[in-house]
Symmetry: C2
Subunit: 231 residues, 2 copies
Amino acid sequence: MATFYGIGIGPGDSELVTVKASRMLKQLDILYTPEAKKNDKSLALSIAEPYLSEHLQIKQRHFPMVRDRSLKEGQWQSIAEEIIADVQAGSNVGFITLGDPMVFSTYAYLLEIIGDRIETKTIPGITSYNSIASEVGVPLVMDEESFAVVPATAGLERLEAALSLHETVVIMKVANYLPTILPLLDKHGLLDTTILVSHASTDRQDVRRGVRDLSFDEKLSYFTTLIVKQP
Amino acid sequence: MATFYGIGIGPGDSELVTVKASRMLKQLDILYTPEAKKNDKSLALSIAEPYLSEHLQIKQRHFPMVRDRSLKEGQWQSIAEEIIADVQAGSNVGFITLGDPMVFSTYAYLLEIIGDRIETKTIPGITSYNSIASEVGVPLVMDEESFAVVPATAGLERLEAALSLHETVVIMKVANYLPTILPLLDKHGLLDTTILVSHASTDRQDVRRGVRDLSFDEKLSYFTTLIVKQP
């Protein structure tokens, strides 16, 4: 039965795709990918590439990355309708997302719009922070500890509350928020126990243990994550 | 170079192992697995089975699952020494963990003891809650939301604080804690938006949307997780 597959392709290394995702990718007739800006354009596609079949049709579509939800909804709606039409015409259609489809992904909006109008199946993926934790050998949680995943965009108050509550806090999308995050980490004595990672699991991976020397105006990739550990 | 591999094998479905983990598993000479109690005994091993080579030597070892850390440390120390000796003798040695090696896994203790005495490499895995979220089509986080992963053993106060702070809270290890967790969810009006999953991604998977009808003394598997969503 023709199905719409939402496929998590992990943090960057093509080998961090699951066996299931690799099998689903091979079976696709059509693949929708978000057309992002600048250098990030082909990251998702390059991760999936080893698993794509020769007859695959790729449809790059523009997903606006703006805060105003109403500006985005028209575009999502029209892509969702296109996907529904493709599946109803008998094609297996895929949508790939970096990391996991249920963690900060546009896919969740598509799924909401599509509902049960066609068969859908979602395949989980390795998140950037799980990959980073393994790479640097630092546990996210042990025993009775807890951890939180907070986007830098959630605001200072929530970040501070999370830092007070959990042994580990993963802060995502930090690129433009260093001027607010670094003083917060300093205030809580966390500058030396924070790990910064850009481009997890790829050739461009950049890992720093401790962020005391980081300057406020350092140019960081959008794919930069902090793992903040209580000392 | 002979290496010790910590390998996350995901929530239960052998296909939710990463391509990298499947390749590492094939290269192992010796595999250490935790010998758990009762029916759970062979779950980790059965997930990894399709990827194991014929010449593999399996060493089941007892990891005590008790709260008192000092009771466990002697045992970990002796297993770590055994692993170090095997790697120094030229074997590729593996240790498999359900879900991800950096999320509530005994592996983190082994890694701490082993330090840099031998070459180590950790391969991330799909966590149960990421798998569940994809299975039920419920995002863990979108946009500016945050989520937390809290074990039921962390205590009521922390659970309550996490429920107040985050849009989504994953509660793990809930099996024996229903008498304290259910009233807490009721108090916050969360009984109907909580999803319960046992044995994620396996043939025995049990998903319930809403836990209003759950009784305090229901027998739940150790592998039961709640995803609590703010309405």
